[in-house]
């Protein structure tokens, strides 16, 4: 994905090009939906938050400044929406069933498939129990492929602080799969 192209599209949208907005929407919503789903484990809530994110971006398009990459801006807005709906997020997590849906490759043995599914279940539980900032660091860097610098900017912290959060999250998840 061309990051510079995203910036050009956002600037074009700021000038009134609605097709540029549509392109950004189509390009980024699948990953954004995954980000929200991993944060909430609720499909309805995650889709609602995707819409809210792009609604805010459309409505307040003048707030974007090209000194930040579009993806950094997008996930800054997304994370703010998560925080603004935190009670709903916690409630959704509590009521979510462990729904690890990604099955291992077909060539795996039944035992391997069961083992990997158990890993998914444990990681989903661990992810839901991580402190918010650890989880967000992991979701942005590992989940959505943001650079350390971009993720740190989106979370309003330094790169070393972000790396510290990531390693603590790693430790929690690793502990779960070793149980």
């Amino acid at each position: 994905m061309d990051l510079e192209e995203d910036v050009r599209l956002m600037l074009a949208f700021q000038q009134g090009d609605e097709r540029a907005f549509d392109t950004l929407y189509r390009r980024h919503t699948p990953a954004l939906a995954r980000y929200f789903w991993r944060s909430t484990f609720s499909r309805p809530l995650s889709e609602e938050m995707v819409q809210e994110t792009f609604f805010k971006i459309h409505r307040y398009k003048a707030s974007y400044q090209p000194r930040s990459g579009f993806k950094t801006y997008l996930y800054t807005v997304a994370r703010s929406i998560l925080l603004n709906n935190w009670k709903g997020v916690l409630s959704a997590r509590l009521s979510a069933e462990v729904d690890a849906d990604a099955m291992p490759a077909g060539s795996d043995s039944m035992d391997e498939q069961v083992g990997r599914r158990e890993d998914l279940r444990r990681v989903q539980i661990a992810l839901g129990q991580l402190p918010e900032r650890q989880a967000q660091a992991l979701l942005l860097v590992r989940g959505e492929g943001l650079s350390y610098e971009d993720a740190a900017e989106a979370m309003g912290m330094s790169v070393p602080a972000l790396k510290s959060l990531l390693n603590r999250a790693r430790g929690q998840l690793a502990e779960q799969v070793q149980l």
């Binding site: 609604f55 703010s80 918010e132 860097v141 390693n167 070793q178």
Partner: protein, 205 residues
């Protein structure tokens, strides 16, 4: 490289982003340390599971875009946020509010003044003190108000934690001009209590 440093770098190592020189040092350490090898294997295993954790069905972008267009057509035009005119005043106002609330919490805290080796306790929070005091601590056992199982010390710490978050988040909101102060406070007031220890740890340095 020792075990502690190795584990500090394990996320970056497994994520493929550790610099070459440190990568070699980690590999050398893993070759001779069985404990770190197990931790590294568990890290890879858990990150692989994390990568595979995806929603059952992909997001339908076309349907979503249609719905969003309808919503935007029905929504009134955004008004100019009032706080944009007050931006120069916003930060001092919040700082003053934070200081006032912190002072109220401090004065209302039932915790006796205990010498702390030169550092000043703030609302029951001693930097680096760790988790909320155990329920069997003398003050916690005697001072909770009627019907309040959490106790004033817990409430004080939570309130301060919220203030810390609010002040930390403010520049982000101010810069983006996306949200009302009400939204911001509502969201932060609902912040997960599991953030408390982490924030206290950061504040305590």
């Amino acid at each position: 490289m020792n075990c502690r440093r190795c584990r500090e770098l394990l996320f970056e190592f497994a994520h493929g982003s550790v610099p070459q020189r440190e990568r070699l040092e980690i590999e050398e350490h893993l070759a001779i340390c069985a404990d770190c090898r197990r931790e590294e294997a568990a890290t890879r295993q858990s990150l692989a599971a994390f990568d595979a954790l995806v929603p059952r069905e992909p997001f339908d972008a076309e349907r979503g875009l249609t719905d969003l267009r309808k919503r935007m057509a029905a929504a009134p035009s955004p008004a100019l946020p009032w706080w944009t005119r007050l931006r120069p005043l916003l930060w001092p106002a919040v700082a003053a509010t934070a200081a006032t609330v912190a002072a109220v919490i401090l004065l209302s805290s039932p915790e006796p003044a205990v010498p702390t080796g030169g550092r000043t306790p703030v609302a029951g929070i001693e930097p680096g003190a760790g988790a909320i005091p155990a329920p069997d601590a003398p003050d916690a056992a005697t001072s909770p108000g009627p019907g309040d199982a959490a106790g004033p010390d817990v409430r004080g710490r939570t309130a301060l934690h919220e203030l810390i978050v609010m002040v930390e988040e403010l520049p982000l909101y101010e810069e983006l001009e996306l949200f009302s102060e009400h939204e911001m406070l509502a969201g932060l007031a609902a912040a997960d209590d599991t953030m408390l220890d982490e924030l206290l740890e950061e504040v305590g340095g």
